[in-house]
């Protein structure tokens, strides 16, 4: 199985977020970057499929030079090789623009499967993977927790609302967007990092892919969420309050 995993480098969760002077994006100077979480799960799914069925797992990432660190991390975790679409204007492109870049690069490889996270931690649009599928004319499924290879294609487990799941079959090649938490991530190892140094990272210039960069959607303004604290007191006896709390944790917060 030849699997491409599209990975985005995003600002680290723990980094302080400040809005830049133009009010259109965040200050990038003191940011630290990390691999988008659902992309990490997509990578893990790809590695498990590769380990089970053979073939290769190829990392595909677009962005400036700094993206190299995330690519190396993916190679260290076990990806076989990588394609880096070098472009400094990722922020100026909309989801369609980014998907065009990814689709153009992926097309050259003729993969059996393209996996990516279901959404990015920074913009959270959740569109890129689906647009890639549309651009390549491939079937797709979203919110995938698990992928199984079948005789003719793949069988995937999708997460629906309210704790429901759906199992569907798809032919390959296909595009899947992976939900976080469906698999257990592996940790990076010293052996992996050392092996990663010898793995191929092919750099493609965004300009060479000859895709339309003009955005159809433009970011007008961004703002920090308002801090809101709403404390609810649960009345009644300890037993009643506990029951109410369990209800809330189950159905409102959905952590139980």
């Amino acid at each position: 199985m030849k699997i491409i995993v599209a990975i985005k480098q995003v600002p680290d969760r723990d980094s302080p977020v400040h809005i830049d002077a133009a009010g259109k994006w965040i200050e990038e100077s003191d940011l630290q970057y990390a691999m988008n979480e659902s992309d990490a799960h997509a990578l893990e799914e790809a590695l498990q499929l590769r380990d089970q069925h053979g073939g290769e797992a190829i990392v595909l990432s677009a962005g400036p030079e700094r993206v190299g660190s995330t690519i190396r991390e993916a190679l260290a975790k076990g990806a076989d090789r990588a394609i880096h679409i070098v472009c400094d204007d990722l922020g100026a492109r909309d989801a369609l623009g980014v998907a065009r870049l990814l689709a153009a690069a992926a097309k050259q490889e003729n993969p059996d499967l393209i996996l990516t996270g279901l959404q990015s931690e920074d913009l959270g649009l959740g569109q890129t993977g689906v647009i890639v599928a549309e651009l390549l004319g491939l079937p797709h499924a979203t919110l995938i927790l698990h992928v199984e290879k079948t005789g003719t294609g793949i069988e995937v487990k999708r997460e629906l609302e309210e704790g429901w799941f759906q199992t569907i079959e798809l032919p390959t090649p296909a595009v899947l967007t992976i939900q976080s938490g469906g698999n257990k991530l592996r940790y990076a190892t010293l052996l992996g990092i050392k092996r990663a140094k010898t793995k191929e990272v092919r750099q493609l210039a965004a300009a060479d892919l000859a895709v339309d960069a003009a955005p159809v959607a433009v970011l007008e303004e961004i703002g920090l969420p308002k801090k809101q604290k709403s404390t609810q007191m649960l009345a009644g006896t300890a037993k009643e309050a506990a029951t109410a709390l369990v209800e809330k944790l189950k159905f409102e917060v959905r952590v139980l």
């Binding site: 969760r13 723990d14 991530l185 940790y187 990076a188 190892t189 010293l190 052996l191």
Partner: protein, 628 residues
């Protein structure tokens, strides 16, 4: 006169047949000895060289050698009765080197000690005193092993120990008896031959059994890594820790063959004492069996048939085994080495372990919390930020920055520093020192954390650090050295003890049981300072196992982040021991111990003693924070 001061009798002459027989037996004995000893030596010498080993400075090596080998101080101190008996046997062996050489040379006509001469008479008398002590000693050890049977010596009776004891006893008895026989008679000849046969049987048994320690352990002690629980740096691009036979270094192989199977490590091991699979002795013997069967060139994994991965990850790195070991085995670097081999290659799969690693790959703290939580604590507590003008950087650590109880300790310690007028500040950003991942064998992550922290400290121009966590102290001071020069650091117990005279005492009769944290005691040799601090608030009482024999809380070695799912909980065993002192308060000096005991004491329910850090005890006498 002759009865009071008898002279050692020796056969006056040997026939040619006797000489030939002796020479033949001696050669056979030496051959049987070498056939095994040569193999062992070869396995040790063919092991990988220890890249980080330095013979110098040699002073400490000589001191340790004299103290531990010549004086047998560790052997005696940690097990007085058996230790003393052993020391007598050892000292007699030393005294007998000359006696034995003279004994063998005499048969060939080259005897150099004349029993009737001044020197000879004196020396044989000197040796006889040791022989007497040795005979008594070996009898005692025999009775202990075969009748008292301490469980640390293992379930199975070691017949070879019985044979060795018998041979040693015969050697001493025949020597002593020779003072009371006539030099011309048959008796002296019989004694001489029995002594000789015992000697020539003893020699080849040594390398075939654990008695090999009497040849190897002096070297093992002398050639130690140089300091307690020192984890050697990885060498070169293909070193991932102890993965296979090819990774065993000469020191590790020497140590594996030196083990005398006394079980002191097992006796003090928190894992072995709470029903876990891990037994440090078994780990060392597992390596020895590996070397015997496969040798140091094998690619077969070390964890598998010969040693268990599960066991290797049950070690709290408390170091009790290494501290106790009388033959110089360094268990912690071996156990951490095995873990490195498993983690650095990704062979170790553990949900809790992966969770910890992933939390530190992306985040800053081992608890996996948002660093904004630490900012909030700093703000709420009004802790000053370090700006380069203050004397100390107060290192919070993961527990001090994120754990509710750890924060209380930091808050009280900060109050004391302010009371004393010591200037301090905390770093705006701090990452985990890497202690848990270092001990779990994740070198990649440890390097990233150490380097990021070293850079932050250098940028902030930090000169001196003080912290409430002994794990941070150890990791910053010793383990970070691989990646740079860390600032000076001390534990808050050392700081507080220095100013104890300036801190107000609380007059009461409260009994306080102090628990020695492994990383403060055995790792740092700090025993008195925290007691001096605790004594500000009451009377310090001791748990049965204290100071260098302190029993771990169960948290170290990254284990606080893993699930302890087999056997009893280490923390509960120790908490019960501390509670049984009858003390109203248990004093800890480590936030990890504190969190372990917090849970263990809560499980004991009502009436459990209260648990406080020494800083909280020292702060009791301070004016209330809200008093104006």
């Amino acid at each position: 006169m002759t009865l009071l001061f008898p002279t050692l009798a020796e056969p006056q002459q040997f026939s040619v047949a006797e000489r030939l027989l002796f020479a033949g037996l001696a050669v056979a004995s030496a051959y049987a000895f070498w056939r095994r000893f040569g193999v062992v030596l070869d396995k040790i010498l063919k092991s990988k060289k220890d890249a980080s080993f330095h013979l110098f400075p040699i002073g400490k090596r000589v001191r340790d050698f004299v103290w531990e080998v010549v004086f047998q101080a560790k052997v005696i101190r940690q097990r007085p009765a058996a230790g003393l008996a052993h020391a007598f046997v050892f000292w007699a062996f030393c005294a007998f080197v000359l006696v034995t050489l003279n004994h063998c040379a005499g048969a060939l006509g080259f005897g150099f000690l004349d029993p009737a001469g001044t020197i000879g008479r004196f020396y044989f008398w000197f040796a006889a005193a040791f022989a007497l002590a040795c005979a008594v000693g070996i009898l005692g050890l025999f009775v202990r092993r075969f009748f008292i049977r301490p469980k640390w010596l293992g379930e199975k009776l070691s017949w070879e120990s019985g044979v060795i004891a018998l041979l040693i006893f015969v050697l001493m008895a025949t020597f002593l008896a020779s003072f009371f026989v006539n030099g011309a008679g048959t008796a002296v000849r019989i004694l001489w031959w029995v002594h000789t046969l015992a000697l020539l049987t003893f020699l080849p048994i040594v390398p075939h059994t654990k008695h090999l320690h009497l040849l190897l352990s002096p070297f093992t002690v002398f050639l130690s890594r140089g300091s307690f629980s020192q984890i050697p740096p990885l060498s070169g691009d293909e070193d991932f820790g102890l993965v296979a036979g090819t990774d065993l270094t000469r020191l590790v192989s020497l140590q594996a063959y030196s083990c005398v199977e006394c079980g002191r490590c097992t006796e003090h091991c928190p894992a072995a004492n709470t029903g876990k699979l891990l037994n440090p002795k078994t780990i060392v013997l597992g390596l020895r069996a590996y070397l015997n069967d496969l040798g140091p060139a094998s690619q077969e994994p070390l964890l598998g048939k010969y040693n268990s991965q599960q066991a290797a990850f049950q070690c709290t790195t408390c170091g009790a085994c290494e501290f106790q070991c009388p033959v110089g085995i360094e268990h912690v670097p071996i156990l951490v080495g095995l873990r490195r081999g498993a983690v650095n290659t990704g062979a170790w799969e553990d949900d809790y372990g992966s969770k910890l690693f992933l939390a530190l790959e992306r985040g800053s703290n081992a608890l996996g919390l948002n660093p904004a939580e630490r900012d909030k604590f700093i703000e709420k507590q009004k802790l000053p930020l370090f700006d380069g003008t203050q004397e100390y950087c107060l290192w919070l650590g993961c527990m001090g920055g994120y754990d509710p109880k750890g924060r209380e300790i930091v808050a009280d310690f900060a109050r004391i520093m302010s009371f004393l007028g010591t200037s301090y500040g905390v770093l705006r950003k701090e990452k985990c020192t890497g202690d848990p991942v270092r001990r779990l064998g994740n070198d990649l992550l440890f390097q990233q954390l150490a380097e990021a922290n070293l850079e932050a400290l250098a940028q902030n121009k930090v000169k001196k650090i003080v912290t409430i966590c002994p794990h941070c102290v150890r990791t910053i001071q010793e383990d970070w050295k691989e990646y740079g020069t860390p600032p000076e650091i001390e534990h808050h117990s050392e700081f507080l003890a220095r100013y104890a005279d300036r801190l107000p005492r609380v007059q009461n009769q409260e009994k306080i049981a102090f628990h020695d944290p492994c990383y403060l005691g055995r790792y740092r040799n700090v025993y008195e300072q925290p007691r001096r601090v605790a004594a500000l608030a009451g009377e310090v009482v001791e748990a049965p196992r204290n100071r260098e024999r302190s029993f771990c809380c169960g948290a170290g070695g990254g284990l606080t982040f893993l699930g302890e799912e087999t056997g009893e909980r280490v923390s509960q065993v120790r908490a019960a021991e501390l509670a049984a002192t009858g003390a109203q308060t248990i004093a800890a000096a480590c936030p990890f111990c504190n969190s372990m005991f917090r849970d263990a004491l809560a499980a004991r329910g009502e009436g459990a003693p209260q648990l406080l850090d020494i800083a909280q005890l020292a702060a009791r006498g301070l004016p209330r924070p809200d008093a104006s």
